[in-house]
Symmetry: C2
Subunit: 234 residues, 2 copies
DNA sequence: TGTACAAATAATATCGAAAAAAGTAAGATA
DNA sequence: TATCTTACTTTTTTCGATATTATTTGTACA
């Protein structure tokens, strides 16, 4: 009698999707990161309300959260839009990412205990498993692969002793992820991503910080260059 | 009815008084950073609406923005509260700050042009000017001094070629600022902050990266240690 | 033809109240 | 006395509507 809202919570025991605002937040974020919502696109409240089937307030709260993270751009009295994209911006993201992850990785290699090593081994295991199941072409667009990829990179730096730094790196990873999707690169040429990650894993477990950092930098910069060459943003 | 000059804005050309949400955002942020709102304090919407004399929606938007930055803690269906504070957390902030500002400073010293140098000289000038006008005791609590202090530190790293990294540093500066206020340290003992900044300025302009980084690290860690010794958070 | 101004239109920001959820306290049962 | 249930209160979240602000369109005038 009380529950006329059926679509939201099918599993009511543990608050899976508790508030509407968070639900819209997640969906909006996904659509922006995957490139479904194109850079520069004007986010009209009316349209979004219809498309995400929600109310004014939750939508607005979601947009405000996203704007604080730079995931959408907010202009006072002028609404919201999807942030623009450019090769320059990708360059800045990549550069910053290399700096921050170098620190986080070196610190992790210095401080990491056996739990940390286990996390890395496991994360790589899942990455490899997923990569083998999925054909090369759709690898980059598979949400499953992307999640394992993300978790592998986070595992590497998870012993750096600064959750703040980890958060920053995660944010940069997200932004880079968006560019990967925007570029819509179909063929990954003769690049063997899994092997790159494997090499990286070994260097880290060997505690060879210099080698690991070198591999990580190359991993990021090569990806960025490939995207700039092949794809066109904005 | 068409008269655009109404009650709110006396200068209607550029939206000076932007939106109510932004106004509340600023005031809330100030009250949290200055310690007027204590760590762990429950932020009840009703009370805030009365205290800040605003409506439901703008307040809620402000809180959502703040929560995305970690400036307030959000728990689903359970409202908002001021983030807790601890010596550990301050340690993490300080550690991370040293890492990030080292990079940003080294890059700035490497790339900085004459404009960058000018920005530093000017920023220090204002810092010194303000410091001399204000008595030592109230220095740390003066909003004016704090602004110049902030701008000086940002000027140092402003040529690092990554606005993202600058934003991260600014966020860390804010968080550290909160701890300075929470500790309520009255006497700054025999510490001469202005001289520390001056030394730092010279090292940077001399392009002595190693020395500059050393001074910066010391600046941050000494401050943090002083706060942990003297003040008690939570 | 171009510019300034004013009304019309569209979009955003805000308000007040209803709905949903969480928290609290009293009463029943063992 | 301890624990569980149930009704009640507080608080958060959401909706529908209104007020405010920006943008576009149309019209008079130079």
């Amino acid at each position: 009698m009380a529950g006329h809202a059926s679509q939201t919570t099918s599993t009511p025991d543990t608050g899976s999707i508790s508030t509407q605002a968070s639900s819209v937040y997640d969906r909006l974020q996904t659509d922006i990161l995957t490139g479904k919502l194109r850079p520069g696109h004007k986010l009209r409240l009316k349209d979004l309300i219809k498309h995400y089937d929600t109310g004014n307030s939750p939508l607005r709260e979601a947009l405000n959260r996203l704007s604080a993270n730079g995931m959408v751009v907010r202009e006072e009295n002028r609404g919201f839009r999807v942030p623009p994209a450019s090769a320059d911006q990708l360059g800045e993201i990549t550069r910053t990412r290399c700096w921050l992850e170098e620190i986080a990785l070196r610190e992790s290699i210095k401080n990491g205990d056996s739990d940390w090593e286990e996390r890395i081994v496991l994360a790589f295991h899942w990455l490899a498993r997923t990569a083998h199941r999925i054909d090369e072409a759709s690898k980059s667009t598979s949400p499953e692969w992307e999640q394992h990829h993300r978790e592998f990179h986070l595992a590497l730096i998870s012993a750096c002793n600064s959750s703040i730094l980890i958060d920053f790196c995660a944010e940069l990873h997200q932004r880079a992820f968006r560019y990967r999707n925007l570029a819509e690169v179909v063929e990954y040429r003769d690049r063997h991503e899994l092997e790159e990650h494997e090499e990286l894993q070994w260097a880290v477990l060997r505690r060879d910080a210099d080698k690991a950092v070198e591999l990580l930098r190359k991993h990021h910069t090569v990806t960025a260059e490939l995207l700039v060459e092949t794809g066109h943003f904005d």
